[in-house]
Symmetry: C2
Subunit: 229 residues, 2 copies
DNA sequence: CGTTGAATTGATTTAAGTCAATCGACGTGG
DNA sequence: CCACGTCGATTGACTTAAATCAATTCAACG
């Protein structure tokens, strides 16, 4: 399925600065990384499929993954998008039962793969590592619930506005902020629980709330207007 | 806010059989419970509110809590409902930042309250306990994501059917299964992300899929029909 | 038996999905 | 360098699911 690669300096550096490993003592980092493999995936290649038994979790090194669930009639719903530095699948480490979701790369991507069995052992005798996993899962849990709330409380333009707001805050503090969407609009639409057409309409509806846009570049000219729905 | 009560035998027994404590060695259970307080709440009493700093997590002893988020225009969306034996709020143990959600009792209820600070200390030197928390958070994370997927992929009748299916499976294996909804329909509607009217309509639409219902009692006469949407 | 809050039913509105056509950007090959 | 082809994004017309508003009905409780 996915090609196994060698870990280079860049990968190692990136991994050491992730929420998973940053702050752990060096020999623990060494222990974790010693059983890590690096894998590469083409566009839309599956890392795992719902229903299967889980055997690994991953950290994204480059590119993006899409975590999603497929319905009986073959429609798909995205559960989350993860980019460089982010872990996914770690929730299967302490969950009996098969995978509830599938994961596939959204484009060419590389990942660090961690054996669930081996990591479970480390968790059980290194509280530092257990806490790192707990931190990641706490964030993921809160994000997922935030998603439920967002879907249920806000309309498409509101959800898009909130998302752009988060990006704007992350990308600068000046009044007119410009940034690039981290991935394709169709992927963003999925993340926000929208059909691509709905995202398109929502974005153009936001023009009157100070959104200027050309291709994947977004400029936010009026943060306050964005905040007011 | 909530009244502090004494822990009785019944409470202690229930706690010892929860996912949190079952399987831990006795003196660890003792250590955890020694700093636990029992609180009672009236109907619709808040345990915590979004925006506040979190200082405790809880296990339900009796009754139900509703975890929810309120929007600017004061509409509310439920994130989850938790009943006897279930923990909630534990995700704040390893999350800096304020509460993203509020919790309130759905009726008269009692809870065991655990100090986040104290529990964090126990996690850090008792891997057994860390694993128990990890298990709970993994389940919660998977449930929350399941919710996102369910909302996005299925219509109201489908979501209700799936929920009844879960209850039916839990309550018996015979072909005609009868059981009582664990809480009010309005609460169930919230849990499923529906207005009460929509739940009502969905339930009556399911009559032709083998659902017989009187008040809070539900009878499932045809499991297969339920499975087929 | 009456009162109160929950549940149901009906009529209407609204948000967003779907289907279909067009546009646009980018990369390839002539 | 330009024409073409592909794929993503946009726009429009239409349909559909579910929210909302309003009026009863029902059920549980004293």
């Amino acid at each position: 399925v996915a090609k196994i690669l060698n870990m280079n300096h860049h990968d190692r550096l990136l991994l050491q600065n992730t929420e998973l490993l940053a702050g752990l003592n060096p020999q623990l980092v060494g222990r974790v990384l010693s059983s890590t493999t690096i894998v590469g995936a083409e566009t839309r290649e599956d890392l795992f499929r719902e229903g299967e038994k889980a055997d690994s979790f991953y950290v994204v090194l480059s590119g993006y993954v899409r975590l999603f669930r497929r319905s009986k009639d073959d429609r798909e719903a995205d559960i989350g998008i993860f980019g460089p530095g982010e872990a996914f699948g770690e929730c299967m480490m302490f969950h009996s039962g098969n995978l509830a979701f599938s994961a596939q790369s959204a484009g060419p991507a590389t990942f660090a793969r961690f054996s669930l069995d081996k990591m479970r052992l480390i968790v059980q005798d290194e509280p530092e590592f257990a806490v790192a996993i707990l931190r990641i899962m706490a964030r993921h849990l809160i994000d997922a619930r935030e998603n439920v709330a967002e879907d249920r409380l806000h309309t498409a333009p509101q959800r898009v506005a909130n998302y752009l707001l988060k990006l704007a805050l992350a990308n600068g503090v000046g009044q007119p902020v410009a940034f690039r969407l981290p991935f394709q609009k169709s992927l963003l639409a999925g993340k926000l629980g929208l059909a691509p057409e709905a995202l398109s309409r929502a974005l153009s509806a936001l023009k009157k709330a100070g959104i200027r846009m050309r291709g994947r570049m977004i400029e936010v000219t009026d943060i306050d207007a964005l905040k007011n729905v």
